[in-house]
Symmetry: C2
Subunit: 331 residues, 2 copies
DNA sequence: CTGAAAGCGCTTACAG
DNA sequence: CTGAAAGCGCTTACAG
């Protein structure tokens, strides 16, 4: 592997001069030497060793994406999409991306330090550990979808509350009066809790509040049995806070001979590409994943360029996408 | 950031003794020192600097995943799934994963060298450049789905030919006689060409060969217009070599008032999770993505551990998954 | 079992 | 515009 030393010898200059050319500091090197060195570089296909650069300059060019969870998190289309966009944007900005899945927040520090990461992006619930993580890692940290109550957290999120409102208003407008909600980890103040609050507030105002037995704090196993919704005394519609789960639920309904939206209407969340592929296509609350990735990466880059930058919270809009999974109950 | 030097000072030993403990070479250090050093390590939360280790030991612990293409390749559910599994398996084995998307093979060398990668995995068509890539990068390289004719290539693939045969046999068995094929880059000898060859060979034997106008070498834009299949003189079934494209095709049919499988039957490829979510659920040729990732990572790890290991080609099986997108035309 | 020396490939900080 | 020196944090190879 050819090094700056080799190039320096061949060009008859010092390593420093080579280093300056490699780093584009052309004002500090004579035109003649620039050309000589560049031609040697391209002749041998010299590539700087970033481990060495990282070690001496304390700047690795590495950004770590940290996902909370276990197993293959990229199988989830939402994660796949957002991680894909982020690594694309980071790559375009000249950074290297490492993706890590962690179960315990204590893995985080180890992960960030070993490679001298210059910044990190976090997905999933880290709210209770944010302070600790930040104390142990003095690098720019950007979160996604955090509802941490810390005053200073840089977070990119969406208007989950409004998402819930939109779903409820649409259902009400379509003539539904008895509806249900299904989300995860409702006891934590995360995205699903906010969606729930927005959803239930509208229903309450409309005079048809969510009854307790219509709220499912659900992992998939505990989703309500579809046939509970066939007797008319049960909800006519369900707001499920993830397209994927909404689709799985509709499959379970179908396997029992029930149909969306005749037997129960469904509204999802995210607007993943597959939401348009199902039958009926899924009515859902859309969030713009690409835009979210864009803002997250740009914000991180800004903080990496200027570490004195104040923390910022960005909230992106959501919208209702009407397709075919909600029945019109107005006569 | 605490270093081995700091620990050494505190423990009253040399850096080398600390290094040995950090690397688990316990036989070379006295029990007393091991304990002393380990307690300091955990007290300060020492984490080795892998840039430094990489630089001095020439072994970075980094594996690079290289995807050919542009834009967000992880949006594709197949890529998301396999990249997710691979990075999971690599992480479990103690390696760091970097994902890069390249358009030109010349980016590859730069990518691998800058971080001193110890191994790399390639997706997508690199067949013509494999020799060049290998010459420039003397590290273990494992390919996926390559049909390179080089004698020595380590590749993990699937039996694409058999996949095509299975699709054709099933269609024939269901009474279809006039069928079509749709794949990409058929002129290159890649996965789709092999699927095509398997598919057409069975049809030929069965006495109903593929006519030229029933073969679509298709990017999505050039997929055959669905309504071309409504007049009875056109194919009654289409084998589309990707679930995603099959699903998109069925949506286009539906937008024209045509239905799967009544107006045209469809067989996909991959058996992505979404294949079961559509209406009708998609009959498809299944490949086991997790297993493919497993073998790919294990093979790479083997070659990294023993660089004299001979090249190996692994071919995984495929199977037919019957769902509801193929009409029964018998009787 | 222990450590002093040298070096990995680069950059920082300085002197000229 | 140029370069000699020192150092980043670690490991290799050796001597004891």
């Amino acid at each position: 592997m050819i090094t700056q030393k080799d190039i320096a010898r061949e060009a008859g200059v010092s390593v420093m001069t080579v280093s300056r050319v490699v780093n584009g500091q052309y004002k500090k090197v004579s035109r003649e030497n620039i050309e000589k060195i560049q031609s040697i570089i391209s002749r041998y296909g010299y590539v700087p060793n970033l481990s060495a650069r990282s070690l001496s300059s304390k700047s690795s060019g590495i950004v770590v994406l940290i996902i909370r969870g276990k197993g293959n998190r990229l199988m989830d289309p939402y994660n796949g999409a957002i991680v894909g966009y982020m690594s694309q944007f980071l790559q375009e900005a000249g950074y290297s991306t490492m993706v890590y899945t962690v179960l315990d927040y204590r893995d985080v520090t180890r992960r960030l330090r070993t490679w001298n990461a210059q910044g990190a992006i976090f997905f999933g619930m880290f709210d209770n550990e944010i302070e600790q993580i930040r104390e142990e890692n003095k690098i720019p940290l950007v979160f996604n979808d955090s509802y941490s109550t810390l005053r200073q957290v840089t977070n990119i999120g969406i208007d989950d509350f409004k998402g819930g409102q939109l779903a409820a208003r649409y259902l009400i407008g379509m003539g539904h009066r008895l509806v249900g909600f299904c989300g995860t980890s409702l006891s934590d103040n995360g995205v699903d809790r906010q969606r729930f609050l927005g959803f239930s507030s509208v229903l309450k105002e409309a005079g048809c509040p969510l009854s307790e037995e219509s709220v499912f704090d659900a992992d998939l196993e505990s989703l309500p049995p579809p046939d509970a919704y066939a007797d008319g005394r049960q909800p006519t519609a369900l707001f499920i806070t993830s397209d994927l789960k909404a689709i799985e639920f509709s499959l379970r309904m179908r396997s029992q001979g029930l149909h969306v939206p005749q037997d129960c209407s469904l509204i999802g969340f995210d607007d993943l590409p597959i939401a348009g592929f199902t039958t009926p296509p899924l009515t859902t609350i859309r969030q713009d994943i690409r835009q979210k990735a864009r803002y997250t990466v740009d914000t991180l880059l800004n903080h990496m360029a200027d570490s004195s930058r104040p923390s910022e919270r960005i909230v992106l809009d959501v919208s209702l996408v009407v397709r075919g999974s909600v029945a019109d109950l107005r006569t």
